[in-house]
Symmetry: C2
Subunit: 665 residues, 2 copies
């Protein structure tokens, strides 16, 4: 290691220690350990342009061990991204671009939000899949317009999380040769030595997944790291795991190699001692040597050259393949094609009873016909979720440009891969499973919502209506649990027409995820000629059927497969002379976003006699029915029996709704 | 295979086909494939007594591939458990003991509820750990009172799920030599060939985990299976994976080996063809040959002998070690010792501000001193969760009788292992992580609630009050999402006194899980001399501070670290002449279980001016504040900054509460 390299690397250590100390909070040890690999990666290997963090063909870098955020902030700062020393000094402060864990959309160059362990590595798989898909679709002979690698740095914790298994299996199965994970093998966890809870031979494990495994025995050996990365990049058939042996808090005389260096400031004395121990030229906080800065600035020059060369290549590509080039730019911008909805079947007035999952499948085919970057599938429930794109090839290692993705029984991995695809840009991913198994993928759904990614979840078998599979498969609390996630748009359409509009809403959304909750069982036809248009779904809730005299004394609120029960109850009440309105509420989130006037129009304050009916937990329904109203729902787990029996036994019936109305004051 | 063996095995196939056909719903293919291994296991290897499914020293059997429920129902029926042909005929019907997926507490002999893939295998690890722990604690020289194996049958789907990774890593790390997983390697998933989504070399993968791997190349080769199981049982240092190559729907001329045999009835014609193809003596549905029945009845005779011998051994043990024997019987019954709470510190009147997580840690030490079967730990956040049992050994392969368990960064595995320990009997498990990461373990929490297991989750860092780690670590919607789960008791204590009572409630609960939501940050001392006793927590919610005149015009409702904010707001309102009551609502679930009179007493209908304050999503709060009230909470994701700044910025302050009250009609 040359003197200047040492200075350039120690600058990362120093900035990390100092920022954590100043914030009086954070994780200094890992950035200190990983400073050399960060240097080798950012300075030598990563094809990136600090001046333009959104250059489409840049290599992607994911710090899956998000607690080591000061590593990536230091690297971004030193290599010339728009991240100032002032930003570093504001580490972990309100409104700063340098939050405690890296957050997408804050510091430029942060490709994704990490911190919940395992998510980063799993998202990196989605990014690598997206790269290959786009390369397959858009590259042409002599035109390698999309051609980049995806690197992720991960911790022991990342590899212990189950999601790492799901993601690594998928990466191996798909032969993602351009994916590289660097495992920080530091033998330390929060509770102490990793040996307390881990004896896995990761090399064997990853070889089992079909990965190549490369070892670097000293996390300060630049040439070994260089070689390992070169080997990884030369590999085209297998993803690579680089096992990097490091020492947490390297350089700290008192804390190197100890768990205490993980999650707390080192303390000013220890920081000073470390700087002295490293032979750092100054004790001044945030000091970076001029020569080190100059050395780092090579990243900017190299990055500018790389992007310039790409732009020249892209210009030639655009000349020879103008339509493809426009399409590429359009999908990278996240735009829908102008004719995106041309092939969606008109479901506004169907006459056949069917399950909403089937209507969804039909809409999906129409979407897929025009939205050519719509890709997705199911966690091994495609035939049930109706998520296959008919006639499309599978996305596989043999046919990487295919569009139906077999996620396997890996809901959590699916969620993260969808996030990675979406973050990469160029794809509109969707993924399906049973609604109850949304529980398996909640951490990934939450990240999609936090990062505002427009992914679409297709959750079928959305109630006890699935019948005999019983309580393990029947969602009860899932609707409430999902509706509670900020930024996530819930969509539980009740007939063909609403299903069509729900998909439209989900696709038109540019910012944030949506899910469709769809029935396994057939739902009756809603006669839209005598009911309001399903376009009302766009506002979340709407008056589906007005009371006969237009002045309701009772409001029934419902969604999805229970809409027809509400309509049935309304008829009975009207027959008894009770003016009754039915409100369809397929999306709480969309409805909440409406103005108070609209809320008042749909749910007038003056009508306190309100009853909700939904075959799910009543949790949260008081928001719409208030304390004067009541909810017909299911506040226990389900049971195994035919669907009709369950609706009867659990009292999700028009009779019970009418009865509940009668009991209201 | 002898003729009688063939008949005995084909009986499983026939019962499975016929029951699925009669229910017109279910999964026939896998029971047909696994009939031989089921036979070898139940007839030859499993040490169980059909006459007493709760014999404590029985081998445990888990059908992780729960969709193949007819396999276990057939086995239980044929081997003599109290499960009649009538029960099989009622497969998947309302109120039957034979629901679509095996449910604990329904058919006798079903050790756990399975169906959500991966959960069964993960729970089996908890069972094997419990066995070893109990053996270590209670066995004495010449007295092997606890000495049994745990077997699980799993599918490709089980092994794809991330939780299988977490559980298998733990099993390997803990050298669970008495754990055996049998993998149904049928090369078929719902979407088609497993090769669509899977290329993992499971042998390498599991060897990486430290498992022994044994192959059986033909799922109908009884002697090979016998040998494999014998080898597995002879192994003491490593868990064993038996790779069993099978053919789904074996015997069916038209559907064997196809995905179509997975999840739907075969159809009567195909069933008849299958019976003919198998040379089965009758086409009569549910027919079991008399000789086959007689052959199966050996299980009952052998089982009775086994348990009798054990009872004789236990009687001798009881004579020589009367106290140990009583303790064992007591913990197996799930009873707390008479003096269980003797060492709990009295926190009813502490004078020091501290975090509720710290108070929790103190209570835990007191509990651990007397409840000797209280075992648990954290998913690598012990120092933060305060879940270490001070002075106790770690539970490890070297010290299997230890009590602090290092789950590693494996929240989901932790949840399932806790379930397995609890189901096994003899242990009271607890497990900790940050509240936000409850998302990672939701499917296991849900199963605990469904199976009514008295496990305790210790969720610390329960709000934005954790500060700088930012939105990925700050729970917002988690409280609502957990409160929506049926049977799960939420406990969010607000001071030392409530923390003590919360732990008491959780420990006293025999049926169903509980979680504690605890603060990272210090909470102010609540002066209980002028406030109501924290014993009120037992009813979920209670009047913490009455309005000065006893006739409140305003009610503030709060929980946890926000209680002091509510009390502060009350003082300001009272100073303005507004009679204000503060209700502490640490447990929605417990409060919901109170009678209407109590609800009316705490939250009288006549007082509509109610404001809630909780540093979390307001989702669901209308249940308590109604439409006339309002909620001070956080309906967006958090941010990275010091805790005080966040409370201020997000408006979780007394000022805002007062302001909100003023705006109410």
């Amino acid at each position: 290691m040359t003197e200047i390299q040492r200075l350039a690397i120690d600058a990362i250590r120093v900035l990390s220690m100092d920022a954590v100390q100043k914030a009086d909070s954070g994780h200094p040890g890992t950035p200190m350990a990983l400073a050399p690999i960060g240097y080798v990666l950012f300075h030598r290997h990563l094809r990136h342009n600090p001046a333009n963090p959104s250059w489409p063909d840049r290599d992607r870098f994911v710090l899956s061990a998000g607690h080591a955020s000061m590593l990536v902030y230091s690297l971004l700062h030193l290599s010339g991204y728009d991240l100032s020393e002032e930003d570093l000094r504001n580490f972990r402060q309100w409104g700063s671009t340098t939050p405690g864990h890296p957050e997408h959309g804050h510091a430029p160059g942060v490709e994704t939000t990490t911190g919940p362990l395992g998510q980063g590595v799993a998202m990196s798989v989605g990014m690598a899949l997206a790269e290959r898909w786009l390369a397959n679709r858009f590259n042409r002979p002599n035109h390698q317009i999309i051609d980049h690698h995806t690197f992720a740095i991960c911790s022991d914790g990342d590899l212990m999380e189950g999601i790492s298994h799901e993601a690594a299996e998928l990466a191996g199965h798909h032969k993602l040769g351009k994916l590289v994970w660097i495992w920080d093998d530091n033998r330390i966890t929060i509770e102490g030595a990793t040996a307390l809870a881990l004896s896995t031979d990761q090399e064997r494990r990853f070889q089992g997944y079909g990965w190549r495994v490369v070892h670097v025995h000293d996390g300060n050996d630049l040439e070994a790291m260089d070689l390992a990365l070169a080997e990884a990049k030369a590999e085209t058939e297998r993803p690579t795991l680089i096992v990097l042996r490091t020492t947490i808090a390297y350089g700290s005389p008192g804390k190197a190699g100890t768990a205490s260096a993980h999650g707390a400031p080192l303390g000013q004395d220890e920081i000073d001692a470390t700087k002295r121990n490293l032979g750092y030229p100054s004790l001044e906080p945030f000091h970076v040597d001029v020569a080190a800065r100059e050395h780092w600035s090579a990243c900017e020059r190299k990055g500018a050259r790389l992007e310039e060369a790409w732009r020249a290549r892209f210009a030639m590509y655009r000349t020879e393949h103008p339509e493809l080039a426009e399409e590429l730019l359009s999908v990278l911008d996240g735009e829908l094609p102008a004719d995106w909805d041309e092939k969606i079947p008109d479901l506004s007035a169907v006459e056949k009873a069917d399950a909403t999952r089937n209507w969804s499948g039909k809409v999906l085919q129409g979407l897929a016909a025009r939205v050519t970057n719509l890709v997705g599938g199911s966690a091994d429930l495609g035939p049930s979720n109706k998520t296959d794109i008919v006639g499309a090839e599978d996305m596989s290692s043999a046919t990487p440009g295919g569009r139906t993705f077999h996620f396997g029984v890996r809901e959590h991995g699916m969620g993260a891969v969808m996030n990675g695809m979406s973050l990469h840009g160029g794809l509109r991913p969707f993924g399906g499973t049973f609604l109850v198994f949304s529980d398996y993928m909640r951490p990934a759904i939450r990240l999609a919502a936090l990062m505002e990614q427009p992914v679409v979840y297709v959750f079928t078998h959305d109630s006890i209506g699935l019948g005999e599979d019983g309580p393990t498969h029947q969602p009860i609390e899932q609707l409430a649990a999902l509706r509670a996630i900020p930024n996530l748009v819930d969509l539980r359409p009740g007939d063909a027409a609403e299903t069509e509009v729900a998909w439209r809403v989900a696709m038109e959304r540019r910012i944030g995820p949506s899910f469709l909750a769809l029935s396994r069982q057939k739902v009756p036809v809603l006669d839209r000629s005598s009911l309001a248009s399903a376009e009302g779904l766009r506002r979340g809730g709407y008056i589906l059927a007005e009371s006969s005299d237009g002045a309701p004394e009772v409001i029934l609120i419902s969604s999805g497969s229970e809409l027809s029960i509400a309509l049935d109850a309304r008829e009975r009440l009207e027959a008894e002379g009770v003016p009754t309105r039915v409100v369809s509420l397929p999306s709480w989130q969309l409805f909440r976003w409406q103005d108070p006037e609209y809320h008042e129009r749909v749910l007038p304050r003056s009508v306190g006699r309100r009853v909700s009916v939904e075959a799910a937990s009543t949790f949260g329904w008081e928001r719409w029915v208030g304390l004067a109203g009541a909810s017909v729902g299911i506040d226990r787990f389900g049971a195994s029996a035919p669907a009709e029996v369950l609706y009867e036994r659990f009292g999700i019936t028009a009779e019970r709704v009418v009865d509940t109305v009668r009991r209201l004051a």
